[in-house]
Every structure is written in structure tokens, then in C-alpha cells.
């Protein structure tokens, strides 16, 4: 009880601190609002990578370093399908959802292959699973390099679609509608995954498996099949994240690692295996990145570097105060 209260207090203090700091350091309401919105946007993208990481770790004790690679795969496939020849005749507004669908499905299938083929034989040697996902991350990056080369692709405005081009204004500041769309989709996913975990049978099994997967098996449930499904889900969500980020971020080789590091920070500072921790942590880190980026873009500082290392700084600070993260269990 006491711990819960202090956790809530800590989170509230962190959020309020960020908001107040941002409010005081931005010039007008418009740029304050935009900062908060872009914080939410960052947070949602982080959540898409981090949620899979967190659920997979909770259930299977594997920290899947390949998660960043799946994000990247999502971006590349979406880009390729949208800009490719095959569906060129299709209306862009249909082509884009189709591209996302194909990417997500590909991510899910890759996830199944990874879990079944590579991780399953290693359940007796957990350290090597960690090392293996490290290796898989390298292979994914290199495979992308072999297929698409080393150039970074960016989404040209010429080949765009409806909401991607639109924007709206907030206190005289322009904000892309597409980013708002991503925020909406992210929030929807947070709720959907929470419902999945809380209300469905598979959700109950996952939550029980996080505590004691052997007992779940003893009740007559094929836990390994559940592992595969969860792994697939985690990978598919990360790929989906890369896919919806593509129109905004394009597709490049560095994006996987950048998001992976921030997402790992999120998962660890939220408390490994805690879904609530991941959701809160994503928003917190996303907001912090946006606030710091806005602050550091002032001419007298003029350093983009600070926003990139913000997740790590937050992580280090939280871990020092709470060795097992915000929502993590002691021991």
C-alpha cells in the first residue's frame, strides 16, 4: 500500500514537473500545446515498441532486443508497398492501410518463426536467449541493408494520402493531422491491449503466466502455444508501430536502434513485465523527450543531443530511486 502511494506520488511529480517546466519555458500557449501533443505522439510510438517488449519479458523472461528490428521492418515494408509497383493503381487512401496490414502480418509471421525456431530450443539457457535476440537484431538490420540498401527513404509529399497532408492549427501553431491520428491509434491500442489482458481468457492466462507459468501448464493449458501467440503479438505490434510511423519518419537503418533504446528505457523504468508501467513510462518518456527537445532548441542551447539522451537520463534516475522500476515488484 505504502509503495503504491509513493509510486503514484512519484509519477504525478514527474508528469507535473515536466508540464510546469514546459509551460514556463515555452513562449506561448500554442507552442506549449504543440510540445505536449508531440510528446504524446512520441510516447505512442514508444509504447508500440515497448508494450511487446514488456509483455514478452513478463511472460517469458526474454528481453527481445530484436524488437527495434521489427519496428524497422514495419517502416520499410510499408514504404515499399506504398511506393511499389504492385499496388500503384490503388487509391493512396486504400493503399496505405493495405501496406500497414501487410507489414503487420509480416511482423507477426517473423515473430512466430523467431520464437518457434530459435528461442524455443534455448529455454533452458536464458542468458543465451538474450544474446540470441541481440544476434537476431543484427541479422534483421543486415537483411534490410541487403534488400533495400543503406539509403534512408523519406515519404515524399507528392505520393501522399489524405490525413498525411492535412494539418490543423492550435493557438496559431500548425500541427500535422497525421500525428494526431497516430496519437489516437496509440491510445486505442493501449486500451485494446489492456482490455485483452483484463477481459479475455488469453489475457487471464498471460497474467497468470507472468506469475507462475508452470502452474498454468499444470492446469491443462498449453503454455508454449501461448508463448508463441504472445511473441507474435509483441512483434506484430512493434511492426505496426514502424508501419504507422513510416509516413512521418520514413524508413532508415538507424531508426530501429534509436527506438529500441528508448523503448528499453521505458520498459525498465516502468518496471519489467508491468503493463501499466509500460503505458505510463511511454507517456512519461515521450513527454520528456518533447519537452527537452523544445527547450534545447532555444538558440542559446541549440543542442538536439539532449532530447536523444533524455530516455536514458530518466531511466538512470528512476533506477537509482527504484532498483526495479516504477511498477516493478521487489525481488
Amino acid at each position: 500500500m505504502q509503495q503504491q502511494r509513493s509510486t503514484l506520488l512519484m509519477i504525478t511529480a514527474l508528469f507535473l514537473g515536466l508540464l510546469v517546466f514546459s509551460f514556463l519555458t515555452t513562449d506561448d500557449l500554442g507552442s506549449f500545446g504543440i510540445t505536449i501533443l508531440s510528446g504524446l505522439f512520441q510516447g505512442m510510438l514508444l509504447f508500440l515498441v515497448a508494450s511487446g517488449l514488456s509483455i514478452i519479458f513478463g511472460l517469458m523472461d526474454i528481453l527481445n532486443f530484436a524488437q527495434g528490428g521489427f519496428f524497422m521492418v514495419g517502416a520499410y515494408i510499408t514504404f515499399a508497398v506504398f511506393h511499389g509497383e504492385t499496388f500503384a493503381q490503388l487509391d493512396p487512401n486504400l493503399r496505405f492501410p493495405l501496406a500497414i496490414l501487410i507489414a503487420t502480418a509480416a511482423g507477426g509471421i517473423l515473430g512466430i518463426i523467431l520464437e518457434r525456431g530459435l528461442l524455443r530450443p534455448l529455454y533452458a539457457r536464458p542468458i543465451f536467449q538474450l544474446v540470441l535476440t541481440f544476434g537476431v537484431a543484427i541479422v534483421i538490420g543486415e537483411a534490410i541493408k541487403a534488400i533495400w540498401g543503406t539509403v534512408a527513404y523519406s515519404w515524399s509529399p507528392l505520393t501522399s494520402f489524405g490525413i498525411h497532408q492535412a494539418s490543423f492549427s492550435l493557438f496559431d501553431q500548425q500541427f500535422g493531422l497525421y500525428r494526431l491520428f497516430v496519437i489516437g491509434v496509440g491510445l486505442l491500442l493501449i486500451v485494446l491491449i489492456a482490455l485483452l489482458l483484463q477481459r479475455t481468457r488469453i489475457g487471464i492466462i498471460i497474467r497468470a503466466g507472468v506469475e507462475d507459468s508452470e502452474m498454468v501448464e499444470a492446469l491443462g493449458i498449453n503454455v508454449r502455444a501461448v508463448f508463441t501467440q504472445v511473441f507474435m503479438l509483441g512483434c506484430a505490434v512493434a511492426t505496426f508501430g514502424g508501419a504507422i510511423a513510416a509516413p512521418f519518419l520514413g524508413a532508415s537503418l538507424g531508426m530501429g536502434n534509436a527506438f529500441l533504446l528508448a523503448a528499453i528505457s521505458v520498459v525498465v523504468l516502468g518496471g519489467l513485465g508491468s503493463y501499466a508501467g509500460t503505458a505510463v513510462g511511454s507517456l512519461l518518456v515521450g513527454l520528456a523527450i518533447a519537452v527537452v527537445a523544445k527547450f534545447a532548441s532555444r538558440p542559446e542551447i541549440n543542442q538536439t543531443v539532449w532530447s536523444s539522451i533524455t530516455p536514458m537520463i530518466l531511466l538512470v534516475l528512476v533506477l537509482l530511486a527504484r532498483p526495479s522500476g516504477l511498477f516493478g515488484k521487489e525481488r
Binding site: 543484427i138 533504446l261 543542442q303 531511466l315 537509482l320
Partner: protein, 350 residues
Amino acid sequence: MPVSWRRTLQSNWFHVLVLLFLVMFPHLVGWITGDSPLGVGGRPRGQSVFWQLIFIELFIFAILAMSYNLMFGFTGVISFGHALFFGMGGYILGLVLEKTGAASEVGLAAGVIIGIVVCGVLGLIIGVVSLRLRGVYFAIFTLAVAEMFAIYIGRWPVTNAEDGFVLSNLPAFLNPARDRLTYYYLVLILMIFTFLFIRRLINSPTGSVLLAIRENESRAQSIGYNTLIFKLLSITLAGMIAAGAGMLQVILTKKVGPEILTVSFTVDPLLMTIIGGVGTFSGPVIGASVLHLSERIFNREFIIGSMSINIGQNWSLILGIAFILVVMVFPQGIVGTWAKWRAGKKTTLE
């Protein structure tokens, strides 16, 4: 005395052979190809000099991998932040040499000492702050700290951000662009020194405590060891050795840039250690040799009939796949698998 000398020789005959080979290597290549080990036409050119470069790189990687193994293989501490020490070593030496205006010899000595001390202190601080974190949390913490440095220094104007800077103030004898053979022997000696140092450390009372921590930390505590101190010692020593490797690297390339802080200098020694054999003395060296030499040998175009396959372009991909196979099939690495095979043979004979 002669008896003990003979015994030392007998139990180390393989190492001695390898050492003899490495000492003779530049001359052997020179003898086969007809290029002098000192270079062709007064400039460092030709096959011998080319192969010296490859072996210097190999030695540096071996030193780095051995330092990683000290922590990971012998103490059981998994860190994903080893590149930090490698890169910081290089950066500090570069900064002292180029930015202080010291004479090259003085700058070199000061840079080496300051770099190693700073990295030792850095390791100590990271250890004190983070060693109470368990397993995965510790690994992530070190990764986060290393990436923080990498990102920050990659944009730091003082060191020209992403471009880095060139080492021009090197003492002449150390300039591998001029006299590569000297540098070859220097790095070789340092590698041997590192090997012997780690072997002696692990066989010493202190080293047996490190092994005990790897095997069963809570028991080591209950028989009276302050395990934190020993883990700190391991991390600090590993960090200092890695810093030395980073210095050798920047002297070789004569350039300091953020690429020496990237995560690949954590991944590579990790791969080398695992491929060679975790927790063995020669494993990291063998792993470094296998990885580095195969990269150099296969990193070119192969023409089979009318088909040409450029393995070099996809080298990292092949490497990654090979790594996955090794982890799955030979988790004990080359040395570990070999030792197990021999032990198995011995017991079946009995």
C-alpha cells in the same frame, strides 16, 4: 629452476608455438611474397605490411574481447556498455594529444595514464551506482549509460561532433603509417601481457573469488567475501584494459570519432567471447582471430563460373547468422566445445 622452466614450457607448448608464429609472421609473409616486412620503396606497402595491419587489428580486438571475458566469462557480470570504455580511452588519449598542446611524447604518456585512470574511475562509479541492480537491469543500465555518452559525444562540438578529429601529434616511432612493424610488435607484446595478466589474476586468490561469484554469489557472501568489492574490481580492470585497447585503435587509425563509441564495440567482443568460448583464457583470442580473419578473407567478390557473389557486401549478415548458429549449437564456443570433446574422449577411454 630448470625443472620448473621445463614444466612451464611443457604445459604451454601450444601457446609458445603460437607466439613464435606471431613473432615470425611479418617475416614469413615477406619471405613468401617477396615484399619486405618494413615496406616497399621506403613506404609501408606490400603484402607483409598489409597483413601486419590485419593482425594489429586482430590483436586489439583480442585485448578488448579478453577484457570483456574477464567480466562476463570469469565474474558472471553481463554488461552491454563495454564500448564506453573502449571509446573513452580513445577519446581521452586523442584529446590530451591534440587539444593540450603538449609535446607528443609527453602527451602520449599523459594521455595513456589519464585515459586509463579516468576509465577505471568511470567503471568504479558505474559499478557503485548500478551493481545492486539485478541481472537484466544491470545490463540495461550499462547500455543506457554507454549510449548516453555515445550520443552526446557524437554531437559534441569540442571533438568535431560526428566528424571527429585526426591524430597528428603522434611520436614518430608510434606512427603506424610510417613504421608499422614496430607497432605490430608493440601491440603483440601488449596482447601477450594482457593474456598473462588475466591468467595470473584468475589463478590468484583474488581470481578464485571472482570465479566463486560467478558460480554462486550468495554463497560467496556467506563464507565471508564482500562480493561487491570484487565485482567492482572486475569491472574496473575490464574497463581499464578496454580503454587501453581503444587507445591502440585510435593510434592505428590516427583518428578519433564517435564510431569508436558505438554499440558494435560491445557486440563484437561479446560475439568473439561467445564464439571462442566464454570463461576460457584463449577463447576470446581465438574468437577474435576467427571473426576478424574470416571477415578479411571473405570480404571480397567471389566468382564461381559465370556467377559472382559479393560476400563482402553481405558479410555482416552472414556473421549474424553464424553467430545465431553458434549460440544455438555450440554455446560453449570453440575452446569450450573442444575441451568438452577431449574430456568426453578421456572418460570413454577409462
